[in-house]
Assembly symmetry: C2
Homo-oligomer: 161 residues x 2
């Protein structure tokens, strides 16, 4: 399944990815995760997209198609280490998006809104929009809030004219 066998060193891979990609290693190692070619590719994809991605979408975009289970575990380990967070979705498939700074292994602080365009069906992160405070009924203890807004994204609004 592996298109590129095992003949490259980390350095050659990094070189082939370009200078911009060096921080990938740091991002990963900063969380205690080892840097691997597969993880580098996944992280890179998330950095290139501001949308929340499903496993299936990632598989189509990955430069080297590696094992489905590996991708599955990479996503979970990234989430556990605070690199990614799950994004709400009622379509049945799990979506992940890159965490902003401030997320850690034990706590996710992605208190921003997600926007799903009903035209292009992309799910975008809106880091600049904070989730407003909600007053809960008596007895409820607030933990964390997730807000998903459906609507039309700017790109689709423009192209519909």
């Amino acid at each position: 399944m592996m298109e590129i066998p095992v003949l490259f060193s980390i350095f050659e891979i990094e070189e082939s990815l370009g200078v911009e990609e060096a921080p990938l290693k740091d991002m990963l190692r900063g969380t205690g995760l080892r840097y691997t070619k597969q993880r580098g590719e996944v992280l890179q994809l998330f950095r290139e997209h501001d949308t929340a991605l499903t496993q299936a979408e990632l598989e189509k975009m990955l430069p080297s198609q590696f094992d489905r289970i590996t991708l599955y575990r990479i996503l979970r380990s990234f989430e556990a280490s605070g690199l990614l967070h799950k994004v709400l979705d009622d379509s049945g498939t799990t979506r992940f998006a890159l965490c902003r700074t401030g997320c850690s292994e034990h706590e996710h602080h992605d208190e921003h809104v997600h926007f799903r365009c009903s035209s292009c069906s992309k799910t975008l992160c809106l880091p600049e929009v904070a989730i407003p405070d909600v007053k809960l009924p008596k007895g409820y203890v607030f933990g964390d809030a997730k807000l998903l807004i459906d609507g039309i994204c700017p790109e689709c609004v423009i192209s519909s004219n």
Copy 2:
């Protein structure tokens, strides 16, 4: 698979369900859906619970265990006709909850908050809590908002003392 074959008339079923259940038929027919034993049971379960339920949870609670696909299609048809709405969930499985009045075939107006207790893991509807307005960045067209709050529900708060 059917435990009760086909020997009961609608009236006998209604009778066995008790007087309280007559409105079930009206609820269903009001949406253009036919009343069947299976649909009656599903609707009844939702009326008995104020939590959002998964298909698996429903299957365990149904008095007569009928076909999985039938349940699947009942849930979708209930959603399409504005009887149920999907509740956001990042666990991967779809949850449904009873719509409040005001939902129709073409538009859902369940602008209330859902609360997921991280202790008992129930997902409750909080119809009295409205989702506050959110100011979207320029170009975005608002359609609909869904808010899920994680925390501890009153029951679990009390029992943890």
